[in-house]
Symmetry: C2
């Protein structure tokens, strides 16, 4: 049974994921990346995944058969499990909870060899619609506090399958980093009576030093205190604490900035591994006035990262102003 | 000039390290690890590092010549610089500070091909004495708030040189993770009037489920809410907030537990890349009653880590009780 456990000092929850339990030998890295012969996300292999929860497909095709353009399925080796309870218990001085939650995979396209940076805008929009539909449905489960939508691209960013996909994990806990963002932006609001993210957008638009992409509704920037080379944030220009409030027009604008930004990263860093994560308000709607959803993209250039895991203290060898120049210099298709 | 920058939402400081500025191309990973022909940390190459700050060497050898068994030098490409000022300034809505601080390298042995896990206890003790001497000296600079001692082992853990070495960064800021530990342990103390780390040690000794190594003065455990497979913490049994308060007898005991623990990790995971970091109180001495120094060891099994960077939310596929069994099963030399 997967279990949530809380660090008694940092109050940081982790999932001990027994469904994907590994032995030490499993972590010894293969020296050469083998090409897997079989991909469960390809057309014709739909029966090898758990049955689909959502699929965008022509009306005349059967569920779990080819024809779809975006498909959502439960993660076969889910870190959390919807059959469990969201009940907390003590273990001596420690606190734990059964590993209740939803873990889903958004298969972004039937095309095994493409990638968000290379898709057309329309396909990226469809993926965002799939995020939103799953968000809306899962948010109705009152035991769920937070819905994490994220992507691991490339083996070094934690992707175990090459086929383009993102993931969704819905849990009865607000992740620590998100809670810290809520607290920090609430504190700023308390002092200034303004949203800190709105202020950042205003200042970046005035200074024009760290803007990567921009349209009417969205902006992507290199953050002032970037932790990593080419770390990039995408923010809606309109103040909005919850991703789910996005309008149809904004989905289009978001897709455009997302695809263009990822294309610039793809070109400038030669298709680097990366993670992105959608930072949005808890499903309780906390932070209406002071929080502002956004997407954080972190290229994983592993020989840079070091002791940062242990300290929360980052050394970034590329000033974000320089990173902006490199990304803006990319020739767009 | 290196610069500290503060994230306005999370209040997390980063160093923008211009001395090691890189262009995007520098991050494209070499496919094969080349064996460098020249190592600045080998005997005979002492003139290629900045002049030594501390060396344990026979009285009849000259500084910056062979004969030493532990040697400390400034980092040639320091992330921070002792020539700068520790003055904060504003940049529009943002906060920054000149990159003042010390960045040193502790060369752990003249032997290029060994590693802490394989050294004899005596050599590990000497390395700990070097940490302590540098700590004591730098702590006298009243502009310094925190002294970080850490090690990156292996390229995937951020080590750019293979020769065994650790590092020290002294900065006018308390790192975020350390501040959070101070806050969390203070809160626990406020409620229980006991040190949370002392309580953890007591409980682990009663339960005997997660102890890896133990002697009179030190214990190493897999933490209850471990983020990573084989994440391991080493704690002094005596309540002590600052590493610098370690006694001569305790240095011996620490060296023994450190070496044995690293040996077990080395064997069980086939010499994995890892980071360790010494978590100790700020040099101001904060946390006398409630904080407890310790060393956190994190093996870097990169295909596991994923979106955790962005969320502070960890999925660990190996329960710490299992990890304990694997580490304890290692046959000791």
């Amino acid at each position: 049974m997967p279990e949530f456990r809380k660090d008694p000092v940092l109050k940081r929850w982790v999932i001990i994921a027994t469904e994907r339990a590994k032995r030490p030998h499993d972590f010894v890295k293969p020296k050469v990346e083998e090409k897997p012969a079989f991909c469960p996300f390809d057309y014709g292999n739909e029966h090898t995944t758990p049955p689909e929860i959502l699929a965008f497909r022509p009306a005349d095709t059967a569920p779990n058969s080819p024809g779809w353009w975006v498909r959502v399925v439960p993660n076969k080796f889910g870190a959390v499990n919807p059959e469990l309870k969201a009940k907390k218990y003590g273990l001596g001085m420690f606190d734990a909870m059964e590993g209740f939650g939803y873990h889903e995979v958004i298969i972004e396209t039937p095309d095994h060899n493409t990638h968000l940076a290379l898709m057309d805008y329309k396909q990226v929009e469809e993926i965002i619609w799939a995020y939103k539909q799953r968000y809306e449905t899962i948010a109705k489960d009152s035991k769920i506090q937070y819905i994490l939508i994220f992507k691991n691209h490339g083996r070094d960013a934690g992707a175990s399958l090459q086929h383009p996909h993102s993931q969704l994990i819905a849990i009865p806990i607000v992740p620590k980093r998100v809670q810290e963002e809520l607290n920090g932006s609430q504190e700023y609001y308390g002092y200034k009576e303004r949203c800190v993210f709105c202020d950042i957008i205003d200042q970046e638009m005035q200074r024009q030093e760290r803007i990567v992409e921009e349209n009417d509704s969205f902006i992507s920037i290199e953050p002032f205190a970037a932790r990593f080379p080419c770390e990039t944030w995408i923010l809606p220009k309109r103040h909005m604490n919850c991703f789910n409030d996005i309008t149809e027009k904004e989905v289009k604008a978001f897709a455009m900035v997302l695809k263009n930004t990822l294309y610039r990263i793809y070109k400038a860093l030669d298709n680097p591994p990366y993670n992105f994560m959608l930072h949005t308000a808890p499903v309780t709607g906390e932070g209406k006035t002071y929080y502002h959803w956004h997407l954080e993209i972190v290229p994983r250039l592993t020989n840079v990262a070091g002791f940062e895991w242990g300290s929360g203290f980052y050394i970034n060898p590329m000033p974000p102003e320089e990173a902006t120049k490199y990304l803006r210099a990319v020739e767009m298709p």
